[in-house]
Symmetry: C2
Subunit: 187 residues, 2 copies
């Protein structure tokens, strides 16, 4: 892709995320073009259907989370790195909830690619968890499956109960606190 | 109701819970009658439809949870009382998940009665929480809505991820640990 095409794509995705999160997933593509200040024809050239747009948003976010997990894996304070990663993971999980729902009927190919990324994420989250456990900050009896369940479940429950962003953050904070070994501090 | 009718009703409900949890909500009424060792006609007299049976199971459990909250409200150790209540609450929420799903199309009347009980439960759980906070065992910044979200979300996530009963218990234990004030002990 040419540089300006790449830039356009990014602008469209950014605008689409903002539009869908404020106006809901039923907002028309025209609103996305308007917000991105890009002709609607260009938007359709990049994303022929709204599902393509949803898919690109979800994939971009998953890739962002994967990159974040990678960079946090060499952080100086493994406990803090894990806790801040869990907050970001939860934030994305609750913010992209509508998109995932709207993509219920999405293609098998997308689901397979998604499952692959989620598998990778679990692996990298496992790495962050192990580092935090090895450094003595997190309880050794916590498994990655249970941790994912706690964070995803909490994020979904916060959305379903109509709780706000602060409540969600506090709830994930309680989970982090719950796996922490008392009286440990990090640099 | 006559004493033996009450006893029959209880035996049917007990058998129905066991049958539905092992064989799923599609198990036929005949299996319930068989397990309860009660004639199928008697079962139908008590519960004309399977939905009546689901409803009675859910309501009985909700009432059980309400009674438990009431008795725990005068327990000597408010922290321990809250934590053991949350475990039981979560156990019921995950065990009765299928029934709630199967009752998706249930009558408005039932839903209203259910909502009423759930409102009562929230009130009583709030009381247990306040007592535990007043005694200094639980963090004062935890709200009852967030606590319910944490426990229900965790229970649902455990079911969805196919985690077992031990994992669910550990996950709720993490939530309890997360709201606990460090270095407090109770009689």
């Amino acid at each position: 892709m040419r540089v300006d095409a790449v830039r356009n794509r990014e602008r469209i995705l950014e605008a689409a995320e903002a539009v869908f999160s404020v106006e809901g997933v039923s907002a028309p593509i025209d609103r996305v073009a308007e917000r991105a200040e890009i002709g609607v024809g260009t938007v359709y050239r990049h994303f022929p259907t709204k599902e393509d747009l949803f898919e690109a948003i979800v994939m971009t976010r998953l890739e962002g989370l994967l990159a974040l997990a990678q960079s946090e894996a060499s952080a100086e304070s493994p406990g803090t790195a894990l806790f801040s990663y869990l907050q970001e993971f939860s934030r994305q999980a609750s913010a992209k909830h509508d998109l995932f729902d709207a993509m219920g009927a999405a293609g098998i190919e997308f689901k397979a690619r998604c499952a692959e990324k989620i598998g990778e994420m679990k692996e990298r989250l496992g790495l962050l968890l192990t580092r935090a456990q090895d450094s003595g900050v997190v309880r050794p009896d916590t498994s990655v499956d249970e941790l994912i369940g706690l964070v995803i479940g909490t994020s979904q429950a916060a959305v379903q109960a109509g709780l706000d962003e602060n409540a969600r953050q506090r709830m994930v904070g309680i989970v982090c606190n719950g796996i922490r070994v008392p009286d440990t501090t990090e640099p």
